[in-house]
Symmetry: C2
Subunit: 230 residues, 2 copies
């Protein structure tokens, strides 16, 4: 028996608006149509993937016609460009800066960074999904920029910090300096993107972003602290 399709967001009833420029009403969301379209697109893209989201769906959700999307953005590709440029990049860049600021006190820096990261991500719930998809996607818009601009300084900074700490005997020497950043992301961005899944498997309310923060910091700072059974 085929698995019932996980019913994609139900389409709101089609609305009728008269042709032509609408009277300037001060209804909510009506003030900046373009920004509103970006919001709606961002939400749907992160939920269903870019390719799987037709412009017509975005349009319906925003109570406009697909033609308006073309009026504002020119094409679907350019809509994605605009999203990356105007929504993803700033956050991604902010994150990079946060890491680059890491002071000499590694423990404090780590706590601050993980905290800030998780805060930022849960304030922008669409970010992890879209970021992962765009970055991991061979043809992804963000990927190029990440590889060329954002990641290298951060990655090298982290490597240096780890190397120095190891040289001074202040850090587990088995940690691979070049891999710590990847681990950091895998322990934060990835779990947030996967949140709907583990929420479905452990349906309880007490599994918050804060649990995740404590868990990740515990893992990083002390590991599992395994002791063999007596």
């Amino acid at each position: 028996m085929p698995i019932p399709p996980p019913s994609p967001p139900p389409a709101p009833p089609p609305i009728r608006r008269r042709r032509g420029r609408p009277a300037t009403s001060t209804g909510p969301g009506r003030d900046d149509a373009r920004a509103h379209l970006l919001d709606v697109a961002l939400k749907l893209f992160s939920e269903q993937g870019i390719a799987a989201t037709p412009l017509s769906l975005i349009a319906r959700r925003a109570r406009v016609t697909p033609a308006l999307l073309h009026y504002y953005f020119g094409s679907k590709d350019k809509l994605v460009d605009a999203l990356v440029e105007e929504r993803l990049q700033p956050l991604s860049a902010a994150l990079g800066r946060r890491l680059a600021e890491a002071g000499p006190n590694l423990r404090g820096a780590l706590e601050a960074f993980v905290g800030a990261l998780l805060e930022l991500l849960s304030a922008n719930p669409w970010f992890p999904q879209l970021w992962l998809r765009e970055v991991l996607n061979e043809g992804g818009q963000l990927r190029q920029r990440l590889i060329e601009r954002v990641a290298p300084p951060v990655a090298h900074r982290v490597r240096e910090l780890v190397q120095r700490a190891q040289a001074e005997g202040r850090m587990n020497p088995d940690i691979e300096p070049r891999l710590l950043l990847v681990s950091l992301i895998g322990l934060t961005v990835f779990p947030l993107a996967a949140q709907p899944i583990w929420r479905a498997i452990f349906p309880s309310d007490d599994l918050t972003t804060d649990s995740l923060r404590r868990h990740v910091l515990a893992l990083l700072l002390r590991g599992l602290e395994l002791t063999d059974a007596h």
Copy 2:
């Protein structure tokens, strides 16, 4: 200047084969057409995503017509089913067995499990990409199957193991039992999927899957072992 689109896999020139059942040639790949189609589909799906890969592309790559895909699989959905059934399930079943074998010695079990996981993943490089792409997003074809079948037993087993170990004082009590599996995946599957990225940033050969294994185990078993600067 816009980044040049990292040209998606170039389409091989369309081939001409006579209509009708072909003479049995012993050319490579010609022996089991069905299996070959599965291979090609798997590769493309993991590179571009399932929704973004038209049957016509799979067909062109395999030097056949789309109609043949329907002949063998009936529909695109059923092609995905076949892939899951015949390629993914065996892998995850093998992993599940590995976990089930986990003896009372948690440290050894963890080492064995992470080792087996990484080995499996790097022997099947398409897995991490495909898994992330299709599992992580709402409309993903594999997501339902994972949530309903594969994940729950494993997730609950891991939670139990952690809880028991914590109750007996054999494990860091700050670890959240329900989140350890997610962390485990974030530390293994994600880095492998992101491999092309960190390879681009640290272009050296000595960063192997084995480095990753040691790094991950170090992190899990002992954490960073940070000491503040004196």
